[in-house]
């Protein structure tokens, strides 16, 4: 196709969008409604993903070292732990440091426990390569010499993984369904406009237009429909997300969990909504046109 022919199709598609008036508005609205739902769903899904990885990073095995263990024995234990194939990183944390932390957050009552009265244990914090491996590593660590006990995030982490997993799964399924419905809605709306143009398409063929020549303006019109339909969803999702983000920031500050920062995240979502809009718009017109361009 020549460049000027593509330009011609572009011009034709804009003209047709304008001349179709209310039909165009109806098709754009169908896109708008779908993209609002998709946008909200995507924002939730992507934050759940973020939450899941925050949790994953948080999950580790804590190995409590017997009280009367020498420095050498501790090193042996550390090497042993590091030798496991599941283990990513082992960090030592002395009971003194831990006491200071506790005092820092809970106050001076704990100051009584100085020196040998410190009730805490020296620990090794063990990060595994996969969060799932924590349970297994904790079990193994328990059987080692110089180890008093070993714990991991345990059942609460397990439950969380399950919940996150099902949110992701259902979110994907619902998004896919929504997009399917959108293509159906749009193709139906466009089909009505195309149906009323059935005669016109026949005339175009009589004057020697190829199927491609007839199809392009319709496809582009569908793409415009998708693009215009993305405007309101983008505005809603952007402003809504920033509002929620600012609202939740204070309450999340004390935890190690964070929502995705609006800047890049919203840019991604916007781009995604625009692309989805254009694709379902064009797909919608493609689907509804196929029947008329058989021969």
């Amino acid at each position: 196709m020549k460049m000027r022919t593509f330009k011609r199709h572009l011009g034709e598609s804009v003209k047709s969008l304008r001349r179709n008036g209310w039909m165009s508005v109806a098709a754009i609205s169908a896109v708008t409604v779908t993209l609002i739902l998709v946008g909200v769903l995507l924002s939730i899904l992507m934050n759940v993903n973020k939450l899941a990885s925050d949790v994953e990073n948080d999950v580790q095995v804590r190995v409590f070292v017997e009280r009367k263990t020498t420095k050498n024995q501790q090193d042996t234990l550390k090497k042993k732990l590091e030798s496991y194939s599941e283990v990513k990183k082992v960090t030592f944390s002395s009971k003194k440091e831990q006491l200071q932390q506790v005092v820092g957050s809970y106050g001076n009552e704990f100051k009584l426990f100085g020196g040998d009265d410190n009730p805490l244990y020296d620990t090794f914090d063990v990060q595994t390569k996969e969060p799932k491996q924590t349970e297994q590593v904790a079990k193994k660590a328990k059987t080692l010499d110089y180890v008093n006990d070993a714990s991991f995030g345990g059942t609460s982490a397990k439950k969380l993984f399950k919940v996150v997993g099902s949110i992701q799964k259902w979110g994907m399924i619902i998004s896919a369904l929504l997009l399917f419905v959108a293509v159906f809605l749009i193709s139906n709306t466009i089909r009505i406009t195309i149906l009323s143009r059935r005669n016109e398409i026949g005339i175009m063929r009589l004057v020697g237009a190829t199927n491609g020549f007839i199809r392009w303006p319709f496809l582009l019109e569908g793409a415009w429909t998708g693009l215009l339909g993305a405007i309101i969803p983008i505005a809603l999702v952007d402003f809504g997300y920033i509002w929620i983000y600012n609202g939740l920031q204070a309450s999340l500050a004390s935890t190690s969990y964070r929502l995705l920062t609006p800047g890049t995240f919203l840019a991604e979502i916007d781009l995604l909504l625009i692309s989805i809009g254009i694709v379902i718009g064009a797909l919608g017109s493609f689907v509804s046109m196929r029947r008329f361009l058989k021969i």
Binding site: M204, L206, F213
Partner: protein, 231 residues
Amino acid sequence: MIEFKNVFKQYSDDIIASNDINIRIDQGEFVYVVGPSGAGKSTFIKMMYHEEQATSGEITVNNFQLQTMKPKEVPFLRRDLGIVFQDFKLLPRLTIFENIAYALEVIEKEPAEIKERVDYVLDLVDLADKSDKFPEELSGGEQQRIAIARAVANKPEVLIADEPTGNLDPETSDDIMAILEKVNKQGTTVIMATHNSIIVNKYPHRLLAIEDGRIARDEEGGKYGYENENV
């Protein structure tokens, strides 16, 4: 050049719309296709632009062998033909200018060339002042003149017209005939189906009479005598 060899067209068991048609039309001819309603005129003409396909036989139009032609080639066959209908078939959403330009955009002409050519054919049919109107704002006769302008815009070898004056009054029909004769003088083959005997006898040309799907007569300058009550 258009040639039909042993062409049959059967719509169903009892409807044979073309019955062993053998005909040859040379470049530059003006040919009437006459006959009563239902005789098979439209079918004969539709086969030329591959709207209908022959059940058997061979059809050659310009350099296309229609019985072996692929669907993809159909648009290219039609670019060498200008087609005019009783009901005009203009695109209602496009202005007069855009309607004619469409036939040229299809063959990817440059905008400047399109403008020049559209202006030329609008002059040819004497409707340059209607260029920005929409089809529904024009009278039937004017719409038909636009349809002819569109048909000849890309300088086709053949102009095919199926009852172009069927919906028009006698005076307007004379305007249409004047334009068709002008186009024919410029070298374009004109094939026109009609059952209007006044026109056929007033502007004599080669006459093909079809009856029950057969070519009943083929005469240069032939007169057309029956069905006068239909005029």
